[in-house]
Symmetry: C2
Subunit: 287 residues, 2 copies
């Protein structure tokens, strides 16, 4: 498949730490190939158990993609072309928030859906790609390259532990640092987000690294009855935020409605649309 | 398969909270059926990349079980019969530690191996069974029944959060309480063990609940090249123990050697054989 070939090229470029034009071109080619491939597939309406949201799946023969949000998914490359222009002009104002949300979601979910169809139970490739995509977008927004590991001081006489992480941003002297875990979903592993925050708090001081995870969605498709549910545990998140550590933001591309209320409660958990990051990021910094 | 039929009966007995004889009989029947089934299978020697340990897999047609530790696995029901006698006499002294280790390991791995052969990529059934087995053994040892959820105080005006957990033991007034996560492996999710400890520490006070996870093994079999590796992250565990929370014990049925050294270092992490639990449990209690 052409999108897989381009994905392998992207992996090489990422491995070499190359940002800028080569990476932009590869993303464009991947999106275009995914869009072409998806346009040849059948659409199956799914039974949505998620209030206020409708989902479909792409199908080819006996194989089916994950659930795709109908309202957020857009055919064609229009959104990407506009986003790319906005990115290069360093000005997102020509895009409405809705346009931005739909474009970001479409870019992420298209590749994941393609992999669901052409591979067997492959969760790793979509997850890795989603990480690359978020890193690419944040690189544009923040202007710095992330690290994907962090040194944690061990005890005296022993070497520091080099902990593999998702994205770590150091914006420079006296500025906030960020830890951005990137996952296609959190589900029953959400506590790991707070655990990593607690570890960084312990090793570097509280909120020296701000935790701002980026998640794709919390939907789950039952392969047999074709029902889509959203697995949300807002009450558990509250006790994690109360007793383990504080996350500064949790960004979603397909925002689960049950988490919205957490913004206005105590302890607040600011669960927001990933599109919000682009406008509010500067306000997260204390200097 | 007879062992699956018996497992379903066990699920019902567990669901009804019945301990004692009915559960003992079902375990005996399951072990016997597993032993019978496994004795009909081929044995494949695996390439062990784990220093000092050898592994094999059961095979039937194109299907293969997980890796089984050669030294710990015993054919037949001899160990179980002796253990059962020891359990009912409340005296484990007739069993050497090695016998106990081999018996416990064989009981756990036999059912997992059977499921590997008869089911497709089913991790849940072996995990659930392993939880039942550990709960059964601990019930005998501690004399109390575990809870599998715990109330965590949320903020004022909101209901407590009922957190689903593995095994929670409350030994009574002024005595230590225990939180026993039970997993077939921890791998890259080990941080969740410390996160749950931190959550309980936060909600109830430090070490009000002692964390003593029980794990089966950390082996991983590469399906293609037939190599067995052990995935161990001792340096990461040290920083978890240093910066997140303190686990009192980590018990293994197939003890990964790289974790042994953590006993003698700072911060100490007492990673031990599950068989040790039976002799040392009383010493873990402060009263």
């Amino acid at each position: 498949m052409p999108f897989l070939k381009k994905y392998k090229e992207l992996q090489k470029v990422v491995g070499k730490g190359i940002y800028g034009e080569p990476r932009t071109v590869l993303f464009a080619e991947i999106f275009e190939e995914c869009d072409k491939f998806l346009s040849t597939l059948e659409i199956e309406d799914l039974i949505s158990k998620v209030p206020g949201k409708e989902y479909f799946a792409f199908r080819m023969g006996g194989k089916s993609s994950r659930a795709v949000n109908k309202e957020l998914f857009c055919r064609g490359m229009g959104g990407w072309d506009l986003l790319r222009e906005c990115l290069s002009n360093n000005d997102l104002s020509p895009m409405s928030k809705t346009d931005l949300e739909r474009t970001l979601y479409t870019l992420a979910i298209s590749f994941c859906a393609c992999i669901d169809i052409v591979k067997e139970r492959d969760q790793q490739t979509p997850g890795t790609f989603f990480g690359y995509l978020v890193a690419y977008l944040l690189h544009w927004r923040l202007g710095v390259e992330p690290k994907t590991s962090i040194k944690i001081m061990s005890v005296e006489g022993e070497a520091d532990v080099n902990l593999q992480t998702d994205l770590i941003y150091d914006l420079g002297l006296k500025k906030q640092k960020f830890h951005v875990p990137v996952k296609t979903s959190s589900r029953e592993r959400a506590i790991m987000l707070w655990a990593h925050q607690k570890l960084l708090d312990g090793a570097y001081g509280i909120e020296r690294y701000m935790g701002t995870p980026v998640l794709l969605a919390e939907t789950k498709l039952d392969k047999k009855n074709r029902e889509v549910v959203e697995i949300c545990l807002p009450d558990q998140w509250k006790v994690y935020q109360l007793y383990i550590a504080r996350l500064k933001r949790v960004y979603y591309l397909d925002m689960p409605t049950p988490y919205l209320r957490l913004q206005g409660e105590f302890p607040p958990i600011m669960v927001k649309s990933f599109a919000d990051l682009f406008s509010e990021w500067d306000d997260l910094m204390p200097v």
